[in-house]
């Protein structure tokens, strides 16, 4: 796997190295002030909290590398989690409920992709508008009520191997693995990079742009559905606002992980560390009893900061080239 690293000079690698150092510093400070941070139970908690984000951020990685965005993933999670919860409440077999939820998530993401292709509009704008569509549908279906499924479908979210390894975290690792494999070893992966770095050149090299973009959005949709399923099982309830805000965290994690906003580059390993950093910071803020309102401020600033770092390092490499 190392050949790629030799060539992509230090930028990406140094980026995760940097993330690791930042994480260690944050952990050290937080642990120093509040020793509970280092308790096994808390660390396991962090892993559980970042599982959904990791799965969603994996989809975002594919989209951002290919030059697309889907910022409706939060609303998509809300809608598909509500559908799953309502079906489970009505005693539909879990498999059917999950299948229905995944289908909803898939269709939502395909809807964003298709609109962006047909209307030749940036997927960023289309998905921004789609937030209203998806959330509105969820509000209509649930009549704005909380869909609780206490006592049902808890296995997925509460299983911990050896008492420390959450099942959903393992699942998210599997997703990273699959996406990493796709990016590195498949024709589809090459198309993701090719379309993201130069769409016209990809077209002239014989790549069907529209079909492949739909595939990217389809993968993203399935991952969003899996994320919704994990979240529902862990929380035991869903409402239309479930998942709100995860889009920014996902895009932030991808960008912090070294994938430039302009696409064409990036690796799943970076996203993994970006997600981990998000989780550690969020947990540290809780441990330090920072007001939840201020936590939003922190994440917002963090994402702006990471975009700035990404833009500046891109600018530098441009000049160097």
């Amino acid at each position: 796997m190392g050949t790629e690293g030799k060539a992509t000079p230090s930028l990406l690698r140094s980026q995760w190295f940097l993330l690791l150092i930042v994480m260690i510093i944050i952990a050290a400070i937080t642990g120093g002030i509040n020793p509970r941070f280092f308790r096994i139970n808390n660390l396991v908690n962090v892993l559980e909290q970042i599982s959904t984000l990791g799965v969603v951020a994996s989809g975002a990685t594919i989209l951002i590398i290919s030059g697309n965005f889907d910022i409706s993933v939060g609303a998509n999670i809300g809608l598909s989690a509500c559908v799953m919860a309502m079906l489970m409440k009505a005693n539909t077999p879990y498999a059917w409920a999950i299948a229905a939820g995944l289908l909803v998530a898939l269709l939502c993401s395909l809807f964003v992709g298709a609109c962006s292709i047909v209307f030749k509009a940036p997927s960023f704008i289309i998905s921004l508008a789609a937030i209203g569509v998806f959330r509105g549908l969820a509000l209509f279906l649930t009549q704005a009520t909380l869909q609780t499924i206490y006592g049902k479908f808890e296995g997925l979210g509460s299983t911990r191997f050896f008492g420390v390894l959450p099942l959903i975290f393992i699942l998210s690792l599997g997703v990273y693995g699959v996406i990493g494999y796709v990016l590195r070893f498949t024709k589809l992966g090459r198309r993701i990079y090719a379309i993201g770095s130069n769409e016209r050149a990809a077209y002239l090299a014989g790549i069907g742009i529209n079909f492949n973009k739909l595939v990217f959005f389809g993968i993203n949709g399935l991952l969003v559905g899996i994320g919704a399923m994990m979240l529902l099982s862990r929380v035991g309830a869903a409402q239309p606002s479930t998942g709100a805000g995860i889009e920014l965290q996902a895009i932030g994690a991808v960008v912090i992980g070294g994938t430039p906003m302009m696409g064409g580059k990036g690796r799943i390993v970076g996203t993994f560390f970006g997600v981990l950093l998000m989780g550690v910071i969020s947990n540290a803020l809780n441990m330090l009893q920072v007001s939840p309102y201020f936590q939003d401020v922190t994440f917002g600033l963090l994402i702006i900061f990471s975009v700035a770092v990404s833009a500046l390092s891109q600018g530098r490499s441009r000049v160097a080239a």
Binding site: R190, Y193, S197, N198, A201, L204, G206
Partner: protein
């Protein structure tokens, strides 16, 4: 003061990258009320000269003195403040505003204490300017309703309103009809009479000899000379434009030419490519020449399925293979090496290997890449084409222009094909790499493939082509056997100047 020098430049030099400079030590003077025509082949440095004078790019060295102010480089706002206005081919107007609004854009006449635009005053003043220049345009008309000639005239009016003393016009007649050309000529003469200095760039020598007071001839970025119109003739100008070192010519090996393999029939794209038909034989390099904008690249794009065509078919060995899109073209054995590799071919941040292997991978079956095979093929082509890379995983962005071009050619060579279309194959490529690319093209021919080569580089066209198709205004006006013809003959064909007895 009609004889006052308003613009003088000395030693103006600009190079992009390591190759021959685009402009090398060019000097000239321009006086008020003088029309200086700039002529030269494609790539002689005309566009670069405009960009330097208008402040779009900064020169590497040299000085520009405009109305007494000397500077080493300009930014566009400085050039404008000094009275230099450039009328570009692609018109820079705001389509949704009126004629008067456009003229006063950024310097609106205000009413009611500054908050509102005084439309009435603006239109009255605009009408004054339009009448002064004898232009029949309604100041209240919306710009998108104007013809392209009117838009161009409007740009000139706008420049006059901004008190321009030097007007630069780049191929102003290239998209105009006959009547419009006549009225533009009249406008230019009118401006000259008002003491405006003009730099007029044109491929059309008949215009040059009609309105030019003096003629600046550029060749390969260098000044051949500045001549009074009265002291030179068309033949002299053409000779000066094309005369050059014989060393630029490539001696190619001759290859046996077989029967017709590729037939292009009646290719048509309204307004761009006009019912073009020709044939290419096995082992033949078919050159396509013509001025920039004559529809050459667009014709190639049609053959590759890039553009919607309204008529026309492509045949290979008697079978109809007219491609629906590039993917289809590739599967049917057509390869297109585009003119602008950065824009149309390179995946800039990706590795040399990914760039080389993309078409191979797309044609291979199965979703999983054969990485070992890919590595082997890449290594093989790096060696075969002498591509200078440190590592297959090096980003293509970091290579020199010649090596980038060879990577792209490698991409199209891995999988066998029948028709190779090269659009400006050696643009931005150094001399050594040029020779190697030529050898590759001859190699294709030797294996009985068909090669179509579009080129603005005269020596390239003359030394490689078996036959040359000449394009002008979307039509292939003639196909010339490349035997005993020279650059002067070709450029006359490009310009549409009739050969006596031809």
């Amino acid at each position: 003061m009609p004889d006052e020098v308003v613009l003088s430049v000395s030693g103006l030099t600009k190079s992009y990258g390591a190759q021959r400079p685009a402009l090398a030590g060019v000097s000239f003077e321009l006086r008020a009320g003088e029309v200086l025509c700039v002529v030269g082949e494609n790539g002689a440095g005309k566009s670069t000269l405009i960009k330097l004078l208008s402040g779009a790019v900064a020169p590497d060295s040299g000085l520009m003195t405009i109305r007494g102010v000397t500077s080493g480089s300009l930014v566009p706002s400085q050039a404008m403040a000094l009275g230099v206005a450039t009328i570009y081919q692609d018109v820079e107007l705001i389509d949704s505003l009126t004629v008067a609004d456009n003229i006063f854009l950024g310097a609106e006449r205000s009413a009611a204490g500054g908050a509102f635009v005084d439309t009435r005053t603006q239109e009255r003043e605009a009408r004054h300017y339009l009448e002064m220049l004898h232009l029949d345009i309604d100041p209240a008309a919306v710009v998108e309703d104007l013809s392209s000639a009117q838009k161009q005239n409007l740009q000139i009016v706008k420049a006059m309103h901004q008190d321009a003393r030097v007007l630069i016009m780049d191929e102003p007649t290239s998209s105009l009809g006959y009547e419009e050309k006549r009225s533009l000529m009249a406008l230019v003469k009118d401006l000259r009479a008002r003491g405006i200095a003009l730099i007029y760039i044109s491929h059309y020598l008949e215009e040059v000899f009609e309105i030019g007071d003096s003629i600046l001839i550029l060749k390969d970025g260098e000044r051949v000379g500045v001549y009074r119109r009265t002291e030179v003739d068309v033949d002299f100008v053409i000779r000066s434009m094309v005369g050059r070192d014989a060393s630029l010519f490539f001696r190619r090996e001759k290859v046996d030419i077989g029967g017709v393999r590729v037939e292009v029939k009646d290719m048509h794209w309204p307004g761009v490519v006009d019912h073009v038909s020709f044939e290419v034989r096995a082992g033949e390099i078919f050159g396509i020449g013509g001025l920039v904008g004559s529809g050459r690249s667009e014709l190639a794009g049609l053959l590759y399925g890039m553009h919607p065509r309204s008529a026309g078919q492509l045949f290979l060995d008697g079978r109809r293979i007219t491609p629906r899109n590039p993917k289809d073209a590739i599967r049917k054995g057509v390869r297109f090496i585009t003119e602008d590799r950065k824009k149309y071919a390179m995946f800039g941040p990706r590795s040399v290997r990914e760039n080389v292997a993309i078409v191979h991978n797309e044609l291979a079956g199965g979703p999983v890449l054969a990485l070992r095979k890919e590595r082997g093929l890449t290594a093989q082509f790096i060696e075969k084409l002498h591509i200078a890379v440190s590592d297959q995983a090096q980003a293509i962005d970091s290579l020199s222009g010649g090596n980038q071009q060879k990577v792209i050619i490698a991409r199209w060579m891995i999988e066998d094909a029948d028709l190779y279309i090269f659009d400006e194959p050696t643009k931005g490529v150094d001399v050594g790499a040029k020779q190697e690319i030529y050898k590759l093209m001859v190699d294709f021919a030797r294996h009985g493939k068909c090669v179509i080569m579009i080129s603005s580089d005269m020596p390239e066209l003359l030394s490689l082509s078996d036959r040359i198709g000449v394009m002008r205004a979307g039509r292939m006006i003639k196909v010339i056997e490349n035997a005993g013809i020279d650059e002067q003959f070709l450029i006359k064909a490009f310009l549409g100047i009739q050969e006596p007895g031809a």
